[in-house]
Symmetry: C2
Subunit: 380 residues, 2 copies
C-alpha cells in the first residue's frame, strides 16, 4: 500500500543520531531532575529560546505569554476551550485543517466557511460573511488561518492579503488564530522566508494568537508545540492547560531545547526544504504524466501537501475504494470543508514516501481516477 494520506515528516529526515546525543547530554548533566514534572507553562529556557527566535523573525513575543503545549493540537484545543463558547462563530477557510475543526466542534462552536483564492483567503467573501453574520446577531469571535502552506491545500497567503486580514480583524474586532507549523518548510525554488512572514509580526492591537510546533521540523514524536497570545488570553490558556494535562513532557522539552541551542534545528532546515521540494517535483511530474486531463492542481510552494481537484465529475469518495483496491490511499478533501462541500478534492501528501513510491502511488491513483471518471461519464 502506498500511503499518500499520512501527515508526517519523512522518517529518514529525523536526525535521530543527533537527537540521541542531545538526550545523552541532558540526562548526563541533569540526571533525575530531567525526569520530574516540568512547569505548567513549559521550561523557561525553551520559552525564552522560542521568544528570541521569534524576535529575530520580527515577531514580538514575551516568554510570560508563551505557553508550551503538548503538540500544537493541544494549543488548538486550549484556544477552543478558552475563546469559544457554544454557538460562537469561528470563521474557517474553505478548506481548513481538520485538527482545528475537531477542536472547535468539541466546544460547540459554530463554524462558517470563507472561500479561498490562489493567493489565500477571499477578502471580499470574508467581509461579506462577517457583515452578514453580525447582521443576524451571531457572535463572530475568531478567524482561524494557516497562513503558510496550509494543510490541506499547500497554499500561501500573499503578503498584501496578510496586511488586509489584520486590518479587517481590527475593523471588526475579531481575533485571529494563526496556526503556523509549516512556515520553515518553504521551497527555495519559488519562495523565500520573507514570503512567510507571520501575520502576528504586524499585530499592533494584540488580537493574534499564534501557534506552532517542532513536529514538522525536528520530530513529531516529541509532543512539543507552543502558543503565544495576548496576556489576558495566555493566562486563561495556562489555567486550562493545568486541568488538561498538568504539564508537557519534560524530557521532550529538554531535548528540543538542546537541539535548538546547539543550532541543530537551524542547520537541519535547508536539508528539509531541498528534500520536500524534490518530492513535490516528483509528485507534480507524476500527476502531469499520469492523469493531466482528469485533475487540476496548484504546485505548492512549501509544506507537505498537494491538493488535487477531480475535473471529470467523479467524487473523491468514489475514487477512494478504487484506489485502495489498487494499493494507494489518500485523504478525501471533503473532510476539510465546514460547509459540507469539497467532494471533488483529494489531499495527497508527498512528505513521507520515497520518490519511487510517489511515482508508483500516483500511477495507481491515476488508474483509479480514470475508472471513476468512466463511471461518472456513463451516469450522465
Amino acid at each position: 500500500m502506498v500511503n499518500l494520506a499520512k501527515m508526517v515528516p519523512a522518517d529518514d529526515l529525523i536526525p535521530d543520531d543527533l537527537l540521541r546525543r542531545c538526550l545523552d547530554h541532558v540526562l548526563r548533566t541533569q540526571g533525575s531532575r530531567a525526569l520530574t514534572y516540568a512547569p505548567l507553562e513549559g521550561l523557561p529556557s525553551l520559552r525564552e529560546l522560542i521568544v528570541a527566535d521569534l524576535a529575530r523573525q520580527g515577531v514580538p513575543a514575551h516568554a510570560d505569554d508563551l505557553l508550551i503545549t503538548t503538540g500544537s493540537q493541544q494549543g488548538l484545543d486550549l484556544v477552543a476551550r478558552v475563546l469559544l463558547d457554544p454557538g460562537d462563530v469561528a470563521l474557517m477557510e474553505l478548506p481548513s485543517y481538520v485538527g482545528a475543526i475537531s477542536a472547535f466542534r468539541n466546544v460547540g462552536a459554530s463554524m462558517v466557511g470563507v472561500r479561498q483564492e490562489t493567493d489565500g483567503i477571499d477578502l471580499d467573501h470574508l467581509e461579506h460573511t462577517v457583515v452578514r453574520l453580525r447582521a443576524e446577531g451571531r457572535r463572530v469571535k475568531m478567524l482561524y488561518l494557516v497562513p503558510n502552506f496550509q494543510n490541506p491545500t499547500g497554499l500561501l497567503i500573499s503578503l498584501p492579503k496578510r496586511t488586509a486580514v489584520l486590518e479587517w480583524a481590527d475593523r471588526h474586532d475579531v481575533l485571529i488564530v494563526e496556526d503556523d507549523p509549516y512556515r520553515d518548510i518553504y521551497f527555495p525554488d519559488v519562495s523565500t522566508e520573507a514570503d512567510t512572514r507571520p501575520i502576528v509580526a504586524d499585530d499592533r492591537s494584540g488580537r493574534v494568537v499564534y501557534l506552532s510546533s517542532f513536529s514538522k521540523t525536528l520530530a513529531p514524536g516529541f509532543r512539543v508545540g507552543w502558543v503565544s497570545a495576548p496576556p489576558a488570553v495566555a493566562a486563561k490558556l495556562e489555567l486550562s492547560k493545568q486541568a488538561e494535562d498538568l504539564c508537557t513532557g519534560g524530557l521532550d522539552q529538554r531535548i528540543v531545547y538542546e537541539a535548538c541551542r546547539r543550532g541543530l534545528l537551524e542547520s537541519h532546515l535547508p536539508r528539509l526544504r531541498a528534500h520536500y521540494q524534490q518530492k513535490r517535483d516528483t509528485m507534480v511530474a507524476a500527476i502531469a504524466r499520469e492523469m493531466p486531463d482528469q485533475v487540476s492542481w496548484i504546485a505548492p510552494r512549501g509544506g507537505f501537501f498537494l491538493w488535487v481537484a477531480l475535473s471529470h465529475g467523479a467524487t473523491s469518495a468514489e475514487v477512494m475504494p478504487l484506489a485502495q483496491a489498487r494499493g494507494v490511499i489518500f485523504v478525501d478533501g471533503h473532510a476539510f470543508f465546514v460547509d459540507g462541500t469539497g467532494q471533488e478534492f483529494m489531499r495527497l501528501s508527498f512528505s513521507a514516501p520515497s520518490p519511487t513510491r510517489i511515482d508508483e502511488g500516483i500511477a495507481r491513483l491515476a488508474s483509479a481516477v480514470k475508472e471513476a471518471g468512466s463511471y461518472a461519464r456513463s451516469a450522465t
Copy 2:
C-alpha cells in the same frame, strides 16, 4: 523554604541511570522510528503490557479498551468531556483530588460532596445523597473515587466498602471513576497488596472507568498515564483524545515500556515503599513531638500525604502566612472540598523532602500553628 506542598516523588528515587539505559536501547534499536507520531490510542506493546499486569492483579481489561493518556490528568479531562454534560452531577468525596475537581468543573458539571469515614467513603451518606438528588430530578452520572491512599487524605477504602460501593453503583446505575495512581505505594508495616484491590477488579457490569499512571512510581516527567473503560466509553475517550493532543509522546511511552519489560519498575517498588514509609514515620513522629495538642491526624498506610486537622479553632488559611514567614509551605485543605468546607485541614506531603527537612519543616509549622491558635483563643 521547606516545601511540604509538592505532589511529587523524591528526586533521588527516580532511577535515572536505569532509565537512561532504556532510552539508549530504544534509540539504538529503533532509531528515527522512535521519534515519529505514536498511535492515537498508545503503543500496542505498552497497552498489552499494562493489560497483562492488570490481569495478574485480577483486573480484567482489554488492550482495545485501554487508552494511553498524557498523564492521568488527561485521563480525568477526557472522562469529564465524554461523560459529563453541563449540569450533570459528579459525586465527589469530601475531600477529593483537586485535579479531578478542576477537570469536572471545566465541563460545567455540578459536584456534590459525600462524607468520608476513616475507612473511606460514608455509605449511608452516599445512599442518602443519590436518593435526594434523584428525587430533585438531578442527573447523577458518576461517583469519583481515589480508593488507595487518596490525595489529599492518604485514606484507604476498606475492602467491604469497595464491594458495597459497587453494589450501590449497580443499584442506582451510576458510573464509578476509579483513579488509582498510588496503589503500588502501600506501606508494608500496615498494608498489603490485597488491601489495595481495585474496585474495577470486581466490576461485572462494565460500570467502572479505571485510571492510573507511571508518574508516582517511575518518573513524573514522563507524561504517560492510562485509562481502561467499558468499550463504548473507551471509543469516545479515544475520539476526544484525537482532538485534544493527537497522541501521547512516543519516546516517553517507549522508555516506560522498556523499563517495565525489563522488570525495572517491579524491582524498584519495594525500595519506594520502604522509603516513603520511613518518611511517613519521620513526619508522624515530628508532629507528635512538636504539636500533639494542636492537631489530629491518621497515619497513612501508603502514598505521599499526611492530612492534618487543626483542633484549636484556627483555620489553615490563618496558619499559611505565619508558616510562610517561618519558611515552610503546605496546601490548604479547603481546596479539596467541593462543598466549601474543610477550612481546618492542611495537606502535608512527605514524599519529596528529606527526613531532616521534614523535621525542620514540622518544627516551623508547629510554631506557626501555635501562634494561629493563640489568636483564635483571644478572638473567642
